[in-house]
């Protein structure tokens, strides 16, 4: 693994297992506060968020601080980013300040890949356009492991706007490396046929009940209206066909896990009763985000 974490597709199962194993050591015991370390004392990390994000940015900040690193967060409003400075110039400027790593979110797919070719500083992708969100997939994997003990031989339904979802892509690449059976489900216009070929073990369906039948894990995606150039489905009908309700849960395995990368749209893609149910792992995901990002930052900065 290079010093960057740009995507899940290009890293190995062994790398993923190593990150997850390390993440476990950062998880707090039940009822205990989060662990603090000084592993990254004296190191500096810049969080560069060209796109609005509260939870991911905060999660990276907390992860960095809990390891003793200095962290500076820059968001696109209130910085030179919004003054028309090009991406390369912004990064060159930051690079000249010699941070030890840059955590970056950007609305353009591949923006971190592009920059990593020109910058010597390690880059952690915190979400690039409609491409990947690698730490989300890692924290989702950790959450599944917590509840199931394994990532092997699971049936995972991913439901929603598949076409525009970086969370879906990262999860597909990760789960498929562990032999999962992955069912992608959404309205036809948001479910490109080619998604069935991006990794082994993928089925596509537009029928939500078929997707959920026998599922070990249900991952709901946010309906990302801002990522669509035009409405590709009748929004008014969305919840009736692709909203997760209690009756769906009954078709899945009895101990099914319901996940969502957040922020959730209650009543749009997920009913409140489901989001708040015992089956929901949504808050575990948030908590695991910190442990996973600690492991990732440690790995990236270790060199």
């Amino acid at each position: 693994m290079s010093r960057c974490l740009l995507d899940i597709e290009s890293i190995s199962r062994q790398d993923i297992e190593a990150i997850l194993a390390r993440s476990k050591t950062f998880q707090p015991a039940p009822g205990e506060p989060f662990k603090r370390t000084t592993i990254l004392q004296g190191r500096s990390i810049v969080n560069l968020f060209f796109e609005a994000s509260t939870r991911t940015r905060t999660s990276f900040e907390i992860a960095a601080r809990r390891m003793g690193a200095e962290v500076l967060s820059i968001t696109s409003s209130g910085s030179s980013v919004s003054k028309g400075e090009s991406l390369v110039d912004t990064l060159n400027t930051l690079g000249a300040m010699r941070p030890d790593a840059i955590v970056m979110r950007h609305a353009a797919s591949g923006a971190p890949h592009f920059l990593s070719r020109y910058l010597p500083v390690p880059i952690v992708n915190a979400g690039d356009g409609t491409h990947e969100h690698p730490t989300q997939a890692l924290l989702d994997a950790l959450t599944i492991m917590d509840r199931r003990g394994t990532l092997e031989n699971l049936r995972v339904a991913i439901i929603g706007d598949i076409a525009h979802s970086r969370v879906a892509r990262s999860n597909i690449f990760l789960l498929s490396k562990f032999g999962a059976q992955i069912v992608l489900c959404g309205p036809a216009t948001l479910l490109p046929r080619q998604m069935g070929q991006i990794a082994p073990g993928i089925e596509l369906t537009t029928d939500m009940e078929a997707a959920i039948r026998g599922a070990d894990v249900i991952m709901m995606l946010r309906v990302q209206l801002e990522r669509q150039n035009e409405a590709a489905f009748p929004a008014a009908e969305y919840f009736s066909f692709y909203g997760l309700r209690l009756e769906h849960i009954e078709a899945a395995k009895p101990n099914v896990i319901v996940m969502h990368p957040g922020p959730i749209n209650r009543g749009r893609e997920i009913a409140s009763e489901v989001a708040d149910s015992q089956r929901s792992a949504i808050l575990n995901q948030v908590e695991n985000g910190i442990a996973v990002r600690m492991a990732v930052l440690e790995k990236v900065l270790a060199a």
């Binding site: 353009a108 797919s109 592009f114 491409h131």
Partner: protein, 428 residues
């Protein structure tokens, strides 16, 4: 009286079906004679032993960016890149600033070319004013000023009624209409070919159908109007089939392909490298195979580069913000040899035809021939000399090529325009 004799080369002229070892004598800028052992007393000589001597290559699709975008390319720098690629005549698309949609702009380009270009430059005029696709541009006066075809290249003419009228007008003026085939509604927001690669990379796709529906529409309208219709930069295997269909119906339909479309597929793209970003986009392996086959069979008439310079700062951005297009004049012959000649698909004379007599015929240019009395535009090339493309040394003002560092077998050795060397390989 200046005299030049190119000696001992294998002279290939598809326009006269000539293919023999011979000397070529040039006098006062005109081809004088092709024969064995021409008397070279008092003449400058060039030893072309082991080389091919062909009519000067003609590229019917380039962007010279002048006027308006001189930081990307000028008529002079673009013409020097052409000469380095073995091209002696180039036809420049009208998407300058201002757009070449009037005799004034055409005259400006003709005048600048006369003073600064090292090769022949033929302007192509816009189909519609400002290439907005609404109101027809002044074809007749632009023709008087020197345009050789009309096109809104860079954009399609989306309105079928407007393009029909343009075709009727073009037919009356006996000028070809060149279409950039792209349905803008289908391609909206797209940055690369829509397929498995775009899906993996999370990039919005440009579907093959955006090209196909326009080719289909235009072929139907070409039949109605009888225009000489030319498909620019064909890239879809279905579009190639449709051009074959149009030819079988006896229509005046021709097509060109760019080297990048017959060499590269979307899967060859380095992830998010904008040197692989162009319109139409690099498509899939079956498309590359169909375009290659089209060039072999004659369904596709010509190789054209779609040389599209963009300066580094425009290409050094997020992939989706980068402009479309790559430069291609210097690598065209090397790529044609690589994909068509070395694998044994075609002989050298077929390669020469795709670069000379065919493109000249499409635009009715008095070029692409070594017939005695014709202007002495000559391209001398090797089919086996190994070389490596270094884009940093390009005479173009731009550096956007996916072929930097590629190793070639064969390429241009010398370029002669009107009897004068305008480019020579330094180490020959």
């Amino acid at each position: 009286m200046s005299k030049l004799v190119i000696q001992n080369g294998r002279v290939i002229d598809p326009s006269t079906n000539f293919d023999q070892l011979a000397d070529v004598a040039i006098e006062d800028g005109v081809i004088r004679e092709i024969a064995a052992n021409i008397d070279d007393s008092g003449a400058e000589t060039f030893d072309a032993s082991g080389l091919f001597v062909a009519p000067g290559f003609v590229d019917i699709h380039v962007h010279l960016r002048e006027p308006g975008f001189e930081h990307s390319e000028t008529i002079e720098s673009g013409s020097r890149a052409a000469a380095a690629g073995g091209f002696t005549s180039i036809c420049c698309m009208p998407n300058t600033q201002p757009v070449n949609d009037s005799a004034t702009v055409t005259s400006y380009i003709v005048d600048r070319a006369r003073r600064h270009a090292v090769v022949n430059v033929y302007p192509i005029g816009a189909i519609t004013k400002n290439s907005d696709g609404i109101e027809l541009a002044s074809f007749a006066s632009m023709k008087q000023a020197g345009i050789v075809a009309i096109s809104d290249d860079g954009k399609p003419v989306m309105n079928a009624r407007v393009v029909r009228h343009a075709m009727e007008f073009a037919r009356a003026l006996d000028m070809p209409l060149i279409e950039h085939c792209e349905d803008l509604h289908l391609s909206a927001g797209g940055n690369m070919h829509e397929g498995l690669v775009s899906t993996r990379l999370g990039l919005r796709g440009i579907p093959r159908s955006s090209e196909d529906v326009m080719v289909a529409r235009d072929i139907l309208l070409a039949e109605v109007t009888g225009v000489r219709y030319h498909v620019a930069h064909i890239s879809s295997h279905i579009a190639v089939e449709m051009v074959a269909f149009a030819k079988a119906r006896g229509l005046n339909v021709t097509a060109e392909a760019t080297p990048h479309h017959f060499v590269l597929a979307d899967s060859d793209m380095l992830p998010y490298d904008s040197n692989y970003k162009m319109k139409p986009p690099l498509r899939e392996q079956p498309d590359v195979a169909a375009v290659t086959q089209g060039l072999i069979s004659g369904v596709i008439d010509a190789i054209a580069t779609d040389h599209a310079p963009h300066p580094g700062d425009e290409k050094m951005q997020e992939f989706e913000r980068c402009p479309f297009g790559i430069i291609g004049l210097e690598t065209a012959l090397g790529l044609a040899l690589e994909q068509l000649y070395h694998p044994g698909h075609v002989g050298i004379s077929h390669i020469v035809k795709l670069f000379t007599s065919n493109p000249a015929r499409i635009l009715s240019l008095d070029r692409g021939t070594l017939r005695p009395g014709a202007p002495a535009d000559v391209t001398i090339f090797s089919a086996d000399r190994p070389w490596t493309y270094d884009v940093a040394k390009s005479p173009s003002k731009s550096r956007n090529s996916p072929f930097h560092g590629r190793n070639f077998k064969g390429g241009p050795v010398a370029t002669i325009v009107a009897g004068r060397f305008v480019w020579r390989l330094e180490d020959v």
